[in-house]
Amino acid sequence: MDYAMCWTLEVGGDYRHSQASRRMLSGVTPAYQGTPRHSVLRVENLSVDFIRGGLGLHAVRQLSYEIGVGEAVALVGESGSGKTVSALAVLRLLPSRTARVSATSIDFDGNDLTRLADSELRKLRGYRVSMVFQDPLSSLNPLMTIGQQISEVLTTHLGLSDSQAAVRTQQLLDMVGIAGHSRRMRSYPHEFSGGMRQRVMIAMALACRPALLIADEPTTALDVTVQAQIMELLANLRKEFGMAVLLITHDIGIVAGFADRTLVMYSGRLVESGPTENVLAHPRHPYTLGLLRSIPRVDRNRRGELPSIRGMPPNPYDAIPGCAFAPRCAWAIPQCHVSSPALEAVGTDWAAACWVKPNEAV
Amino acid sequence: MAGLLIAIAAIGIGLFANILAPHDYAAVDVTQRFLPPSLGHPFGTDEFGRDLLSRVIFGARTSLIVALSSTLVGATLGVVLGVTAGYFGRASDEAIMRLMDIMLAFPSIVLGIALATVLGPSISNLALIIGFIQIPAFARVARSSTLVVKAQEYVVAARTLGQSNAGIMIRHVVPNILGPLVVLASLTVPGAIVTEAALSFLGLGVQPPTPSWGNLVFDGTRFIYSYPLLVALPGIVLSIAVLGFNLLGDGLRDVLDPRSRR
C-alpha cells in the first residue's frame, strides 16, 4: 500500500487489475445475487436519511449493488433520486450532523467501509477510489497552478519528490490529452475551458491508479462535442488502467456507449439493474421504459408529441405506502399503491422492482 | 432577539416619553440640585435640579427621531442613487459612484460639522445632515445588490414584456434588494445616534433645554469629577441602545441572508 506499488503499476503496465478485468469481461457474467462476483465495491442495504428541522427525508432506501473489478456501471436517476447521495454515503462524505447513514456492509477492495476508521478511509480516498465531479472549476483551487495541484496529489499520496512529481504530472497530462505541458502546467484553472478543466480533474483522479473511479455527472456542464471527447477519454482510460468506473448521470443517453451495466434509481430506490443493452432496449420497469420513450432521439425521424411520463417525482418528505412510481405509472395495479415491490430477477444479472414488469420494447 | 427587545424598548420609551417620564424634563428647581438617586428621582437630578430620568427618557425621543429619520433620508436617497447607478451602468454609474467616493473621502464628523455650521442647529437639520452622511453607504449596497438582480432573467423578461425602466426598478429591483438594505439600516441607526451625540456634544446639534442623549452626556462632562452620575447614567443608556440596534442588525442579517441561514 505504498507508493512503490502504485509506481510499478504505472511503469510496468496494468497487469493485475486489467487481467482480472479481462477475465471478467470475457467470462460468463455471474447471475444476479448468485455466485459472488469478483467485485471492487459491494454495497448492501444502504440507507441515507437527512434530518432537517425535525423532518426526516429518506434520500436512499435499502440500496444494494456491486461493481466488478474493471467494470463500468452507470447509476442513472433524476435530481432527488438519491444517486449522488448514495455515492457520497459510500465514501462517508456526507455531513454527519444531518445525514444518517446505515448499511449492512460496504465492502471496498477488501475493506469494510462501515467499520473502517476515518483515518484509514481518508487514505483510501483519492488513492484506491477517487471522484470526478460535475463542476471542475469549484473542485480546483483557483490560486494554484494546474501543475501544482496535480503534483500535490502525487507528493502527498505517493510521497514522490518534487522532480519525480513533475515528470509524472507531465505523463498524466499527456494521458488525458492536454498538450503543451510546460505552459499548461503553469496555467491557472480559470485559464482553462470547461473541457480542459475536466481533463485536469481526471488526471488528478487517476494519479494513483485507483481501483474505482466515481464520476458524478462528469459531462453535464459541457457541450455535446466536448462531452463526446470526455466520454471517449474515460472509456479509453478505463480499458488502459483496468479500473472500475461508477458513472452517475441523469442522462440515460450517455450510458449506452459506456457502461456494462446500468442501475436506475427513482425516489431513493433502485428500480432496475441489469446489462446496459437489455435495460435500454427492453426495460422491465415502467419508469425506465417511460423515460426512454420520452427522450427525443436524433437518430429517428419522429415528429410531434412525445410519449411522456405524467406527473412529477414525489416529494422526498412524503411517505408513500406502495411503489413510489405508482402515481405516475401507466401500468399501475391496485397492489402497487399498497405495497412496495422488491427487486426481482427478470433475466441473467437483470432485475426490476415492479409488480407488473411490463414486457415491451422501447 | 435581545437586540430586537432593546430596540423595541428604546422606541417604546421614545414614543411614550410623556407617559413614562415621572417629571417635566424642563422643570427647574434650584433647591433640588445634584440630588443622588432616590425613589422620587431614580437617576437623581442635574445642576438645575431637573429630573435626570425624565431627561434621559425625553432624550430617547429626540435621539431616536434624529437617528430614524436621518436613516430614512439616507436610505431613500442612497437607494435611489445606488439603484440608478447599478441599473443604468456606464456613465451614470461612474458619475454617481465617483460622487459617493468624494463624499466618503471626508471623515463623516468633519462633513457633519461643516454642514451643521452652514445650516444651523435644529433637530430637522440634524436629521438631514446625518442622513446626508449616510447616503454613500446605502448607495454602495444598493448598487451592488442591483447589479446582482439586474443579471437575473426576470429583469430581462420584464423588458421583453415592455415594462419601463422605472417600472422594472420599482417592481423588480427594489423588492429584491430590500433584504440587505434593511440590515444596513438597522446597523446605521446606532451610528446615527452616536453622530447625533457627537454633534450635540460639540454644541452643533440639539439645543438646550431639549434633551438628547448626546447633549446630556455633553452637559454631564462639566461635572464629571464632582458628580459623575450625570455622565454615566445617560452614557450607559446610550451604550445599551447602540448595542441593541447593532445586535438587531446582525440578527436581521442572519434572518434575511439565505447564505448565512442554516
Binding site: T225, I254, A281, I295, I309, V362 | R171
Partner: protein, 339 residues
C-alpha cells in the same frame, strides 16, 4: 425559408426577418483602449421565420445563439443589421410603438428559477404584461392562462419557491403567452428541467403551437428535441450560421462537417445503435470569439479538412452560406461531406 408558404402566399412578408444581424461585446480592457478590443458574438446572421413555423437555432455555448435571441427580442440593440417584425424594422420605432410591437413577440427563458421574480406571486407575475399593456379583465385572463398551460387557477396566489421546475416553466410560458404573441422565442426551454419533465413541456409547446398558430424561434443545443419539433433548422458556429435548411435536409442530408460531428456526438440510448454508428469526435473546443480566425471559422476543428489533406482554401477563404432556398451550407467541400 420554407418554399411551401411562399407558394401559397408569395407576397406575404415573413413574420420575422433578421438581416445581417451583428452583436459585439467590448472586451475588458484598460479605459483608453476601449472600443478597440471587441468580440463579435453574432456575425452577420440572416434568416426569416414565417407564420406557424418552428425555426430552430442549434449551437454550442459560445456560438452566439443567446446573444442573437436577446437582439431579436430587442433587449439588446444589435451593433449592425436589422430585425423586422411583420415587415417593420424595430430600429425605426419609438418607445411607444416598440412597446406595442413587443406584444407580438415574447420570450421563454432557460432557467425558470431565475426568470420569475421570487418576491411576486404567480398571479402578479402573470398580470404584469397585462397591466403594462393595459389589458382589461386581468384576473380572469390570469386564470385562463394558467389553465392554458395545464396549471390550476388556485396557483395564482402562491409564490415561485412553492413549485417545481417544470411547473415554473409552465408559468414562464403562460407569461409569454399573456399578450397573445405571434412569435415565441424559446431559449433552451427544457434544458434546465428533469428528464421525465422535459417531454411534458415539449408536448405543451407543440400543443400550444398547433392550437394558437404560433411561430417559434427555438434555441437549443439538444438536437433530439430540434429534430422532433422544428420545421427549419439553422446550425450556428462562432457567431455565424454554417448550415440552414428544412429539418429533413439538415438532419438527413447534412452538408456541413460541423453538423455531422454535432449529430454524431449526441448520444443515443441504445447499445446497438451506439455500437454501429459512425462517430466523429472533434478535437479541441469552440475557440474563444476573441480570437481572429482567417478562412473558414470551423477549420481549427474540422475533421474533413484533415481527411482532405489540409486544403489551402479552408484557411484563406471564408466559405459563403450558399445553396438552395431549402438548404444552404457554408463549406468549400460540402460535396465531400455528403459522401
Amino acid at each position: 425559408m420554407l418554399p411551401v408558404s411562399e407558394e401559397k402566399a408569395p407576397v406575404r412578408a415573413p413574420l420575422l426577418e433578421v438581416r445581417n444581424l451583428t452583436v459585439r461585446f467590448p472586451l475588458r480592457a484598460p479605459v483608453f483602449a476601449r472600443g478597440r478590443h471587441q468580440i463579435t458574438a453574432v456575425d452577420g446572421v440572416s434568416f426569416s421565420i414565417h407564420r406557424g413555423e418552428v425555426f430552430a437555432l442549434v449551437g454550442e455555448s459560445g456560438s452566439g445563439k443567446t446573444s442573437l435571441a436577446r437582439a431579436i427580442v430587442w433587449v439588446r440593440r444589435p451593433d449592425g443589421g436589422s430585425v423586422l417584425f411583420n415587415g417593420v424594422d424595430l430600429a425605426t420605432l419609438n418607445g411607444k410603438q416598440l412597446r406595442m410591437s413587443r406584444r407580438g413577440f415574447q420570450m421563454v427563458f432557460q432557467d425558470p428559477y431565475s426568470s420569475l421574480d421570487p418576491h411576486q406571486t404567480i398571479g402578479r407575475i402573470l398580470s404584469e404584461p397585462l397591466r403594462v399593456h393595459r389589458v382589461s379583465n386581468v384576473r380572469s385572463r390570469v386564470y385562463e392562462l394558467l389553465t392554458l398551460v395545464g396549471l390550476e387557477p388556485a396557483f395564482a396566489a402562491r409564490f415561485p419557491h412553492e413549485f417545481s421546475g417544470g411547473q415554473l416553466q409552465r408559468v414562464g410560458i403562460a407569461r409569454a403567452l399573456a399578450l397573445k404573441p405571434a412569435l415565441l422565442v424559446c431559449d433552451e426551454p427544457v434544458s434546465a428541467l428533469d428528464v421525465s419533465i422535459r417531454a411534458q413541456v415539449i408536448n405543451l409547446l407543440i400543443r400550444l403551437q398547433r392550437e394558437l398558430g404560433l411561430s417559434y424561434l427555438l434555441i437549443a443545443h439538444d438536437l433530439g428535441i430540434v429534430r422532433q419539433i422544428a420545421d427549419v433548422t439553422a446550425v450556428m458556429y462562432l457567431g455565424k450560421i454554417v448550415e440552414i435548411g428544412t429539418n429533413d435536409n439538415v438532419f438527413n442530408h447534412s452538408g456541413h462537417p460541423y453538423t455531422v460531428a454535432l449529430m454524431s456526438a449526441v448520444p443515443v440510448p441504445n447499445v446497438t445503435v451506439e455500437r454501429n454508428r459512425k462517430r466523429i469526435i472533434l478535437v479541441g473546443e469552440i475557440p474563444s470569439p476573441g480570437v481572429t480566425i482567417t478562412g473558414c471559422r470551423f477549420h481549427t476543428r474540422c475533421w474533413l479538412r484533415t481527411r482532405l489533406g489540409d486544403p489551402e482554401i479552408c484557411t484563406s477563404v471564408e466559405p459563403p452560406l450558399e445553396g438552395r432556398v431549402d438548404h444552404s451550407i457554408a463549406c468549400h467541400f460540402t460535396g465531400e461531406v455528403m459522401r
